[in-house]
Symmetry: C2
Subunit: 414 residues, 2 copies
DNA sequence: CTCTATTTTTTCGAGCCTCGAAAAAATACT
DNA sequence: AGTATTTTTTCGAGGCTCGAAAAAATAGAG
């Protein structure tokens, strides 16, 4: 049951609030912080002077823009880049990349690597992840002690506690407790996150006007993934990362899905499904392991050029996505959608059927008002989201320990 | 953006916490409250003495059971029934009922009434609701001034702010701002709630062991409704009451639904759909306005007796519910389900096909572990939930004003 | 160049709140 | 009747936020 608020929680929570305000606003003055948090100037003054003393914040020059004002100029507060650093690890199909990010959010080092994730042994996969992290940590240019957290993003299902990958399309192996493995190895707190959830977080940071409290990020790729933000918070399943939009049922007993079941949205809208339909292989044809981006582009070009099986394949994809979104919108009400990933570049081929389908569902009553945006490049988005998530953890758990306690006040996505 | 915690919020929140603890536990001692809330004995002592002084709590005799213990006996705290009262109004198809409930949760008065909701004019419908409330308020036995809140539950879609009914199957009229109407009329704060959400709240109070943080209540009735509790909180859409499980798409372009669209779960599993299939009228047959409980029982009896169209109708209903739940479980992970309503009595006919369908979905991987419970009588459940919701509002907004501020700490379903 | 108006930031005392320790209260056991 | 035990209250200490006032830092006016 919920727990009372202790007296010392108060300061911790307000510290977290101030740090969050600075991270969001970039270089706010104390006065601005007081306004956004609703706390008094005295309190902000006390907290920020603590935080500066601890090296978490630094004073920077007044925000250059409006310095024509009369009185004492505002002095901007910003995050001290050297206060800490985090490491992001993004593991996707045949690709592994890490980045070191300072406390202010700047990338200070990175490394990328191709692997054959589908055929690697479990130990080899884990080994590669550990090794690439170790190489970054051993980088002489880097103060190892400053790495306060590692966040690993992976395509597939993770558990709610962000400790393990439960299942992933990029490897046949399951239940890999990456968080424990990394923590045992490096003694740095680690979490495992779902890639689409990180996309959603990144979108929110990139465009907070459009992606604020309620929106959907859909990854159109070999498979179909989703990151969902509802009421300002990342929506996850009760046990897993959840939000397996791609495996909602579009056609009972329909096309064969990569997951072994039938009729999932993904079995119509994933790259392999579009490929299969475009090649007219039939819905029972075994999903191929991978379709190159070049092949998908060729398919899209063909579909644009003439009415044929390629165009029909995209139409079917749009229909599946549309009915899927319609069902989703029946549950959560319509919200803005971001289509992310290589196939988002072919959204023009998908959109008509999608809109037609969605218009026939409960959530689609005002389907014209549902807006779609596209972003073909998912990797930078995942990495950004991962970085923000890791930094937010540092903000809250390390620099304001105990503040994450309960209540969503400090738990908001960003 | 989120707001800092003021110093005076602290007491308010902890007051709310204590009240909630008493409401949940029934007759806890101060020591028990200290344990469940995590606050110190001194704090609990101070707060409870305030609350007793204000007439919100009362001291009752020690909890009779374990009074064989050694030391000073615990003195139980309980809600003062006279501290306030709330009124519930439940509006369902052709039926209107109100109840007055004291602060401790006991029904002190009630009234029920049959109406022809489908054919009534908008004003007549509103008029009946206002009139029945007025009759209760004018009851000489009742201290009118003590009614602190009115909660109206209605089948259909309400808005997130709980101010208005947006759409309902029980009436052709839409967008009725019942909350404003009642507040203008009686100057008592009012809310409008979705019936299935209230069912979920009631289930949680009735059986907190089974229905704790994550569960689903599904109303099997003329239509199909759902109340969903996730992570301890009632799940609603972003704009509406949401959770329109019945209008998730089961079969694109499938059977005609009462909502005018095609292929919704309800178009296979609602009473009218089962009836239509049992009578072999075809999927395009216009949904009938109402099927009597007696007719539905006859259908169920026939289905149990022989393999025929009746049995097939229930099979189809189970299949639709199963695939729908499967899609839902893809998003939120599996959770216990309560089947509520008259047709829950025919769940034996529905279950086999339901389990078979769910086993073919992503969420159904462990379909055997998904447990179903049935409760044929929805009305008492709706009223109970409504009462608890209204009382919780009083707990938080009236007796601990400002405490509902932000953070879910105090917002939990109960 | 000095003075004034203006705005931001810090300082300081007041008022709450929670906590821990100790005291008081109320009972069962010996 | 006295002792052990458990619950509840009391009381002082320590923290936190707030408002008001003071201090700091600048632009504009004369």
């Amino acid at each position: 049951m919920s727990v009372g608020i202790r007296h010392d929680d108060l300061r911790r929570r307000n510290r977290a609030m101030v740090i969050a305000a600075v991270r969001r606003a970039g270089q706010p003055s104390r006065t601005e912080i007081a306004a956004t948090t609703g706390l008094s100037h005295s309190t902000i003054s006390a907290i920020s002077s603590d935080l500066i003393g601890e090296g978490i914040l630094t004073e920077s020059k007044p925000s250059e823009a409006g310095s024509l004002k009369r009185g004492r100029p505002q002095v901007g507060l910003s995050l001290n880049p050297e206060a800490a650093a985090v490491m992001t690890v993004v593991l996707s199909l045949n690709f592994l990349s890490v980045a070191v990010i300072d406390y202010a959010g700047q990338v200070v080092a990175e490394e990328q690597r191709r692997l054959d994730t589908l055929t690697m042994s479990r130990d080899a996969l884990i080994g590669e992840c550990v090794a690439i992290v170790r190489r970054r940590l051993e980088d002489p240019d880097l103060d190892v002690r400053s790495i306060a957290r590692i966040a690993l993003a992976i395509q597939g299902i993770t558990d709610t506690r962000a400790r393990a990958m439960l299942w992933s399309p990029i490897t046949p192996h399951t239940d890999i407790a990456f968080a424990d493995i990394l923590e045992d190895e490096f003694a740095i707190p680690a979490t495992v996150e779902n890639d689409c959830n990180m996309m959603a977080i990144a979108l929110r940071w990139r465009d907070p006007d459009r992606y604020r409290d309620d929106f959907i990020a859909i990854l159109l790729s070999h498979g179909i993934g989703m990151g969902l933000v509802l009421k300002g918070e990342l929506f996850t399943g009760t046990h897993s990362s959840g939000g397996e939009f791609g495996h909602m049922i579009h056609q009972p007993n329909g096309a064969l899905c990569r997951c072994g079941r039938r009729g999932c949205v993904e079995a119509y809208a994933g790259n392999y499904a579009i490929w299969r339909n475009a090649r007219q292989l039939g819905e029972d044809a075994e999903p191929v392991a991978d379709v190159s981006d070049a092949d998908m582009r060729a398919l899209a070009t063909a579909a644009r050029e003439r009415d044929g099986p390629e165009r029909e394949a995209y139409r079917k994809a749009g229909e599946a996505l549309g009915y899927g979104l319609g069902s989703l919108f029946a549950l959560i009400d319509p919200a803005p959608v971001a289509m992310v990933g290589a196939s988002a570049a072919a959204f023009d081929l998908i959109e008509p059927a999608l809109r037609k389908a969605i218009a026939q569902t409960a959530g689609g009553q005002h389907s014209k008002s549902i807006s779609f945006d596209t972003e073909p490049n998912e990797l930078p988005l995942i990495r950004e989201g991962c970085a923000m998530r890791a930094l937010t953890f540092v903000d809250q758990e390390i620099f304001a320990p105990g503040a994450q306690a309960r209540g969503s006040a400090g738990k908001s996505v960003a």
